[in-house]
């Protein structure tokens, strides 16, 4: 056969192009999703890197669902989940996980309470047995509860009272939300923590902790075939429960009223945050979420964002500038733009410059190039998520708990890619027109030693 050089060259070019296009194609997420008859949602993510599993239980209840005068109760209940259940009293759960070489933890935010165990795969059945018991048979004893209140008060001291940044956050959220429970700290106020009774915790537990109000996400050295029967065995027999409707007090329209919050401390640097009202995914659409996410990147990415380029790099006015948005809240929350000045005495000027950048974007819009740049980063994000055992599992847990669907998670990258510059500009106009609901300032003050 005569060698046709031209044809071979063309073939090579096509092959190379084809190969990189293939490499760029969406990586198919490897997981299985199903729901038990009692309503428990389950996601299984096989990962055979090591003979280890990550078992995470996500309850669709958080601090914002706490009774109105018991802020932080959901977080307190999270602590009590480690104090013993009927079949595994006292510290049995903790001891057993530790004895088997597992890692255990939990955390609470406004919208969900999650419990995690990482452990050698052969102990998964034991973990499930214990987890299932504390889902329905938690024990509420006055002595351990009283002690745990002290622990939570100390946790508040460490994470909030002694941290001026955290205190600023509490003040800013309280100013941002006049009615909605996001205006209260996730850990609760000190006075309300002190007022908790065992009855409060028990009532809250019985209302919210049911299989039909939970999502189980398991990642690790398992196959669906081997783990599905285990899940049925341990969780399948727990009866469905009556779960309250998840309705938080609606936040009224601030009608353009703005609030300023300030904090002065030697432990703080100088900064300004402009906090704008913004929609979330659940009450709007995945498209809206994607548009605002990219707006966040275009404005606030630390390397190629508008603020980084103009205020940090070109003008040398800011030491640091960023934007922050996520649609991953159960109720609408915020879009934040922040900056810290190169020179603390220039804070006002910095704020004016940030405002000017925002106005410019609203008027001129964004370029195709800028948008393409922002989109490109997201292509790599899935690699990072898959790099750890818990990355993808947490992604499912966090988002399913606040109203994303499985299809949303599948379609996220595609939805991002479809966003247009006009959509970004329109979203910017909608978000920024009325100005920030809250502006928060931190001021560094020096103190005589």
């Amino acid at each position: 056969m005569k060698l046709n050089i031209k044809a071979i060259t063309l073939f090579l070019v096509l092959f190379t192009f084809g190969f990189s296009a293939f490499a760029e194609a969406k990586e198919k997420l490897q997981y299985q999703y199903f729901t038990l008859e009692n309503g428990l949602e389950v996601v299984i993510i096989p990962n055979h890197r090591a003979p280890v599993v990550y078992h995470s239980m996500w309850y669709k209840v958080g601090s914002a669902d706490s009774p109105i005068d018991k802020s932080g109760l959901a977080h307190f209940l999270e602590h009590l989940m480690f104090k013993g259940s009927q079949k595994f009293p006292g510290d049995t759960y903790k001891r057993r996980v530790n004895d088997l070489g597992g890692n255990q933890n939990a955390n609470t935010n406004w919208d969900r309470t999650a419990y995690f165990v990482t452990i050698a795969k052969e102990y998964l059945p034991i973990v499930m047995e214990m987890e299932a018991d504390r889902m329905q048979n938690l024990v509420f004893l006055p002595e351990p509860i009283a002690k745990e209140k002290e622990v939570v008060l100390q946790e508040r001291r460490s994470t909030s009272d002694a941290d001026p940044n955290a205190l600023l956050g509490e003040a800013a959220n309280a100013a941002f939300f006049w009615q909605h429970p996001y205006g209260k700290p996730m850990i609760g106020y000190e006075e309300e923590i002190k007022s908790y009774t065992p009855e409060d915790a028990k009532t809250f537990y019985k209302q919210w902790y049911h299989p039909n109000n939970a999502i189980l996400v398991i990642a690790g050295d398992v196959s669906v075939r081997e783990v599905k029967p285990l899940i049925e065995k341990h969780y399948g027999k727990i009866p469905k429960g009556e779960v309250p409707k998840r309705i938080r007090t609606l936040e009224p329209d601030h009608r353009g009223a703005t609030a300023k919050v300030e904090m002065r401390s030697p432990q703080l640097g100088s900064s300004v945050q402009r906090i704008y009202t913004a929609p979330n995914r659940r009450t709007t659409s995945l498209r809206t979420d994607a548009v605002l996410t990219l707006l966040q990147d275009v404005i606030g990415d630390s390397t190629f964002g508008r603020l980084a380029k103009n205020l940090v790099e070109n003008q040398g006015l800011a030491q640091y500038a960023a934007a922050s948005y996520t649609g991953s809240f159960y109720d609408p929350y915020s879009f934040v733009v922040m900056a810290s000045p190169e020179n603390p005495s220039d804070l006002n000027q910095l704020e004016a410059s940030v405002e000017a950048e925002i106005r410019r974007l609203m008027v001129e819009g964004v370029t195709e190039n800028e948008l393409a740049r922002a989109k490109e980063q997201w292509k790599f994000s899935s690699f990072y998520r898959l790099d750890s055992l818990h990355g993808l599992a947490d992604h499912f847990g966090e988002n399913l708990a606040v109203g994303y669907s499985i299809e949303d998670l599948e379609n996220w990258l595609d939805t991002l890619q479809q966003v247009t510059p006009i959509q970004i500009q329109q979203a910017a106009q909608a978000i920024f027109e009325k100005g920030p609901a809250v502006t928060a300032y931190t001021h560094h003050v020096t103190q005589k030693e």
Partner: protein
Amino acid sequence: MIMKRAFIQFLFILVVTTFSIQAVASIKIQEFDTAKNIHVIFVEDPTARLTTVTFAFKEVGSATDPHGKEGLTSLMAHLLMERSRGEDGLDKHAIDKELKSIGVLNGINYSVAADNIVYSFKAPNETLKETFDILNLIFTDQRFDAVELNKAQNYDPPEARLATASERGFASKILIHNLFHGHPYAHPAYGTLDGRQSVTLADIKQAAKQKFTRKNLVVSVIGNVSKRTLSPLIDKAFGDLPAGTAQSLPNIASPKLQLSGNIQFIPKSTPQSGVTFGQIGVSPKDPDYLAFLVLNDIISGKPFTSRLWQEVRENRGLVYDIQTEIVHWQNAALLLGGFESENAKVQEVIECIRKEWQEVQTKGVTEAEFKSSKTGLLGGFALNFASPDGVISYLLTSHLGGLPVDYINKRNELLQKVTLEDVNRVAKKWLDAKNLTFVVVGDTQR
């Protein structure tokens, strides 16, 4: 019937326990020197979409800062990354942009410690070569900027001052300073406020010549890349660095620990007190190390179930967390712990700690405690392997600590041999309740 079941159960436990030890015995580690004599520790992982790289310049950390210029290494490492513009415009901003656009989303991170300077990054497999090219630029076209130096010198690290630091952070700084008094390990990695002011641009350039050499460098990698591809990439990145001379920096002598057994109170108006405490520790190279690891685990190292956790948090509700860990330097080891509590409760917590310490030192630990801790430490080792970060961290730490590189594959076998007698012998030998030293920062009366 019952006996048969018990026997089967026993077999099951035996199999299960054996399995979990065997299961972690087989990381295939390749150790080699590149053509340009750079030492590499490498694990090939066909499942990885990202390549994880950690590299360290050994024995050139902040402990080698000259007296009066404490902070030199920290400033040098900072300025290396804060590249100035130059004629080609390839400053820090340009490099950050480039890294992000090739998928190195978290940038190149570094940390200066007393003994070593450690860098790390993750890159998609597709752009590993470009990332190593950028490393070549950073390390061989070093640009130290006088303006950036001035800026860094005008910025006091928050941990340096009582007013700006967290309570526990400042307590920690003072404790280390006291324990290592007069020795280069006494000052934090960022140096001292005076030392930092004394550093000149010439100092920094000189230090970079001495510290960034191929002789000091070790590179560890986990990724879906072959040795044949990786080796020249590493040489491309670092091959232009000076070879390094045999002895350019002073040896760090072993410190003489100054354990007073006292409580030092540092008054600060604050809602909580931050407390750190410490005594002598045991190095990984010491034959007593694994027994000491078990001892620490039981007394205060393991959250939820350690003695201190039980006594101080569970039974008394005095703290949110209380833990100790074994911290080691090239030539020293400490057992360090800390907690925060209400100002008024600090004394009670300290008394609890001293009491448990004395108890374990004189009476040892129980069989039950020992069994729990040992099975936990054996079974939990597998968790290190669930992500590349776990593996690479262990490999590099072992190497920097002077352990054989395959320690990761031997560790459980060695731990299996530790007995209750070993642990209690080590408790008598190493625990030192009398000289357990505390620093308290808070609103506490003496």
